[in-house]
């Protein structure tokens, strides 16, 4: 159980200084997600425009893994087309559920590859996914609202 492998420097950096933290306007959808087992929480806003993720902002309370993952997620999806962002989401989820058997693609996941070690800690996978799940949910809401 290598703590250095789990707590990569990149993760600790994002944890200490999370990117895009703090709730911002404008936004089309806001969601609140909770990890029922540990209580970690995130309130997350998404703004989409012309099929692009214009902005993601959030207010999160949780462990280093969940905070850092949310920060990395925001970096990754902001400015991307929704479809492309969803693909990144899918790669990240796949990596998390791989129990360490998938090699992450740095071109797609950028700082997200630092989470490869988390996949070996089943209890922490939910932490890494909290922000991503919230983003997916909020984006779906934003899209369906803008379709109306």
């Amino acid at each position: 159980m290598d703590m250095q492998a789990l707590y990569q420097e990149i993760i600790l950096d994002h944890y200490r200084a999370p990117h895009h933290a703090g709730l911002r306007e404008p936004f089309q959808a806001e969601v609140h997600h909770v990890n029922p087992t540990c209580g970690d929480e995130v309130t997350l806003r998404v703004h989409v425009l012309d099929g692009v993720v214009e902005d993601v902002s959030y207010d999160a309370e949780g462990c280093s893994i969940s905070q850092a993952a949310t920060s990395v997620m925001a970096d990754l999806v902001i400015g991307k087309k929704i479809g492309d962002a969803m693909e990144i989401h899918d790669s990240f989820v796949e990596l998390m559920q791989s129990r360490g058997r998938v090699d992450p693609d740095e071109d797609v996941l950028e700082d997200g590859i630092a989470f490869a070690g988390v996949a070996k800690f089943p209890a922490r996978v939910k932490c890494a996914l909290l922000g991503w799940m919230a983003w997916k949910d909020a984006t779906a809401k934003a899209v369906s609202d803008s379709e109306v």
Partner: protein, 425 residues
């Protein structure tokens, strides 16, 4: 005629199987071997199941879903793998539809209770009807009586034919537009009857009623495919399928489970809790308040592995062959009347009977002195007994370890009982 006279086909290799069950080599009073013919009451357990639980307690024990540490992780994994295995065993579309309860009775009460508190589509109220059958185990009668009484609904039921089959002649009036829920046993624990679920489910869904199936005697005996069955809920119990006590299963359709209110409130079933209000976790946690029967789930998974290794079709074949042989031999006994179907068609391995002039308690007492363990009484099916004008019966029931020689021992014992009480020829 004894076994020697018949060529029984379809039997399992009981020599090998019996070696897995420590209790089956136990000696009773008077150094008699145990002839265990009470498996519909509870089955015996193989070493594989007992050992899986011991190993968990000795090496992994920890609470689930709450701890980050290695034991907690391992325990959680084992518990969730158990759920996945059980889901696969009954072909549930999704493992999150498998809810662990403490037994079948709780699983059935879970449905009746959440319906009692439901609002909207599933609400049961005055003018609504709840349908059961006269063949039910008390655990599939009382919850519905309580629901009907508490909510002002009407309880209706299917009767039983003289042959011990469900009388479906009035199905279109018994299940009607007012029907909200139909709860039916799949295999009767008293009569042995296998019910025509397809017909009942079709009609119930036609009128928009929910269907609950009490599969307590079905899942142990044959391959169950809940996806193909099409019911909304299926309940069964661990201890009758070579699993431990303290665990039962409710499979439910996610759509319905999601729409129902919670059953028990507490730890693990919440999403968030404030003093003012709480919200619920997604399935299956929503219906599993508190520390679940962790080691029991792991034991049940080992039971499912054991059954799957034998193959459920082979288990069913064995049950069928043994039941056919038992019916044949019992029908030869003078003064013996079988309650329930006498042909091994659509029939499980529980045979209840009466002996002229000897009360079932006395029959089972003498059999017990010979090492033959059967059950006497109402088998938690008083209405079905009343239907046949009796208060109690003697029941022999079989399972994957039962041998034809044990059926012979039963029949010999019955003859001895008759001689003891000086009845019959």
């Amino acid at each position: 005629m004894t076994m020697q006279g018949t060529a029984l086909t379809g039997l399992l290799d009981t020599d090998r199987i019996r070696a897995d069950f420590p209790i089956l080599s136990r000696r009773l009073d008077g150094d008699r071997p145990l002839v265990y013919l009470d498996s519909a009451n509870t089955s015996q357990k193989p070493r594989q199941v007992i050992g899986a639980m011991t190993a968990h307690y000795e090496q992994i024990n920890s609470n689930v879903g709450r701890a980050v540490h290695q034991l907690g992780d391992a325990s959680t994994q084992a518990y969730e793998v158990a759920r996945v295995k059980i889901a696969a065993f009954i072909n549930a579309p999704d493992a999150s539809e498998v809810i662990f309860a403490k037994n079948s009775s709780e699983a059935l009460n879970l449905v009746a209770n959440t319906l009692a508190w439901a609002h909207g589509d599933y609400e049961v109220g005055v003018g609504d009807e709840v349908v059961i059958t006269e063949m039910e185990h008390h655990s599939n009668i009382v919850p519905w009586q309580l629901l009907a009484e508490r909510k002002g609904a009407t309880l209706r039921w299917f009767g039983i034919t003289d042959e011990g089959r469900l009388d479906l002649s009035q199905i279109d009036s018994i299940i009607n537009d007012r029907t909200k829920v139909v709860s039916v046993v799949w295999v009767s624990n008293m009569l042995g009857t296998v019910t025509p679920l397809e017909t009942i489910i079709r009609r119930a869904h036609e009128v928009g009623a929910l269907v609950v199936v009490d599969a307590s005697q079905a899942v142990p005996q044959f391959r169950v495919d809940v996806a193909a069955l099409g019911a909304d809920f299926v309940a069964f119990t661990g201890h009758k399928m070579v699993g431990p006590t303290g665990i039962g299963v409710l499979w439910g359709r996610a759509k319905v489970l999601d729409a129902l209110p919670p059953f028990l409130g507490g730890g693990s079933m919440i999403e968030t809790v404030t003093m003012q209000r709480s919200t619920w976790a997604p399935l299956p946690a929503k219906f599993e308040a508190g520390t679940p029967p962790i080691v029991e789930a792991i034991g049940l998974a080992a039971a499912v592995d054991y059954l799957s290794a034998l193959g459920m079709d082979n288990v069913a074949g064995h049950e069928h062959a043994i039941t056919a042989y038992a019916l044949e031999r019992l029908l030869e006994v003078d003064g013996l009347t079988i309650l329930g179907p006498t042909e091994p068609v659509d029939r499980g391995g529980a045979v209840s009977f009466e002996i002229d002039g000897v009360h079932p308690h006395d029959v089972s007492q003498v059999l017990d002195s010979l090492g033959v363990a059967v059950r006497a009484g109402h088998h938690c099916a008083k209405p079905a007994h009343a239907r046949f004008g009796v208060q109690s019966s003697t029941r022999a029931s079989f399972y994957l370890y039962t041998t034809p020689a044990e059926i012979d021992a039963l029949v010999d014992g019955i003859e001895q009982t008759k001689r003891f009480f000086k009845v019959g020829s």
